[in-house]
């Protein structure tokens, strides 16, 4: 038994020695700095075929009509307050509560993304000195689901050439809003497929 172990051990030692020497050799010859590994991405050079159904159709069934929902909730609330079935919980109520939670979550996501978009645009918009004029310019943005700005159009110019120009420059600098990538498709379609940016100059000296 011991003999087997000893021979195994010698074999292991030889292996160990070999791997040592090899590793030392390979390290010195390759001279790759292992402190800061670099990340290499490989990209294939292929023509990107546009997905045929870019404008995906949202099933109308899934589309929650918020206005209607709020209305029904309100009327429901009034009925509950006046009626005797105040403590009665029925299934549609739970469903409504759930959809309410879902709605508030959706709203939160929309606000979050809107704030990011606002920040991004703010960081590239070089606002001209408009003295004491109050100016407003509205720009309609058309996004792809990938976040790419497909198209934009100044729908309500401020009529101040320099202000409008500064707005167009800012939007030209932003070609992507990757933030919408994480959104549910339905939310994207109803909120960010087309949205408006409203640029305002309060006329105050900042």
């Amino acid at each position: 038994m011991n003999k087997i172990l000893i021979s195994l051990n010698t074999f292991a030692l030889i292996l160990l020695f070999l791997s040592f020497t090899f590793s030392i050799f390979s390290i010195t010859t390759l001279k790759v700095d292992e402190i800061q590994p670099i990340k290499v991405n490989f990209f294939e050079l292929i023509d990107i075929a546009e997905p045929p159904n870019r404008v995906s159709v949202v099933k109308p069934k899934e589309n929650i009509n918020e206005a209607d929902l709020i209305k029904t909730q309100e009327s429901n609330g009034v009925k509950n307050a006046s009626g005797l079935e105040k403590y009665k919980i029925n299934k549609p109520d739970i469903k409504k509560e759930l959809s309410k939670i879902k709605l508030s979550k959706e709203r939160e996501a929309i606000i979050k993304i809107s704030a990011i978009i606002q920040d991004k645009i703010s960081s590239v918009w070089i606002k001209p000195n408009s003295l004491s004029k109050i100016l407003v310019a509205k720009v309609l943005i058309n996004l792809a689901p990938s976040g790419e700005v497909l198209n934009f159009e100044m729908v309500e110019p401020s009529k101040n050439i320099v202000f409008d120009e500064s707005v167009l420059i800012a939007i030209n600098k932003m070609s992507f809003f990757e933030e919408v990538l994480g959104l549910e498709r339905k939310l994207f379609e109803s909120n960010f497929r087309n949205f408006k940016l409203v640029f305002k100059s309060s006329g105050e000296i900042e």
Partner: protein, 421 residues
Amino acid sequence: MRSFILILLSSNMFSLLEIEIIKGSDNLSKVAFVPFGIEENLDENYGLQISTQIEKNMLLFGEFENLDKAEMLSFPSSEEDFYYRDWKIMGVDYSVIGKINSINMLGNLNISYSLFNINRRIKILEGEIIGRENNIEGIAKIISNRIYEKITGLKGIFDTKLAYIVNSDAETFQMCISDIDGKNEQILFTSAAPIMSPDWSPDRKKIAYVSFENGLAEIFIQDLASGERESIQALGMTNSAPVWSPDGKSLALVVSFSGNPDIFSYSINNKRLVRLTNHYGIDTEPSWSPDSKKIIFTSDRSGSPQLYEINTQSKRKKRLTRDGNYNARGRYFPDGKSIFFVHGNDGNFQIATKKLSSRFIETLTSTSLDESPTISPNGNIIIYATKDGSKGYLGGITLDGKSRFSLPVKNGSVREPAWSP
């Protein structure tokens, strides 16, 4: 300022999500001034000189950032060699290129130039100019003005001048004018007695100022071309703080009969003095509104110096400031809708602005002994006098607060700047 308002209108078929953008970036527009090209058999220096001069002008007030010449990827001189990508990749917002096409026997250079908006990928300005080879500075100023106007929408100010008083020692006072970049300084008048309150005539041909050379405060009007000085023989004991009306026909000034200063309007042609205020308090430092209809002035009638406005026709007065116990040296913005003045607070004197329609004042500067603010004709920059120890120098600030700068130091204290129209 950081208040973000989000208007969210979702799930309704007809209303789109609207995101409101109020705050702009703190960054400045980046401009690349490409050395101008030259035709063969011309002196290479001209091209570089012109572009460097334009660059210097444009960077004078810190309103822009530049791309250093050494950082440029290419040096185009005509539209054919200009590629937007070369500049976009460097984060440039605007590029200025140009070329010296020819020089004739009289030494006149023919220069063409263009300005490109890199983000929008369009040429926004193209021009040609003929000027003498020994006046490269002048040519550069004209080109700078046009570029500045195109980018900011404001009037170019590189051909304006500055008047100021240099006090090199206790007994030497100099009335000086210079180009806005500090070059071509001219001493108009030297005196052993104090000189004060210079002001430009609207046609830039004359300067009015107060001199104590005859023992009392006396107003002089000096013609810049001839150097001739003319004293205004007003009736009072002392006459001070002359300010030209924007139409150039009259001066607003302070006349003191028996020690009580009041505001008067003095018509230059028929030398008539019209009393505007009559109060036992001190009324001083008048200044005209851009439409010549109103005059702003400082008065201590309420117990502390505050700003008032008087209609020169109806003589109706209105108090303009109520914050703090020191608001003086008021001036109107070129659009007449706001004023700027010196606001005192706990022994700190700073330049502040106020919209006439609002109750609030905003302080612009952060130094503590600021005085005599003067505004650029385009209403975008204020230059003021301030102190570093006992030595006075001129500081400046753009109204968006993005840039603060100080003008080159002179040997001597510099006070009371006045920006030419």
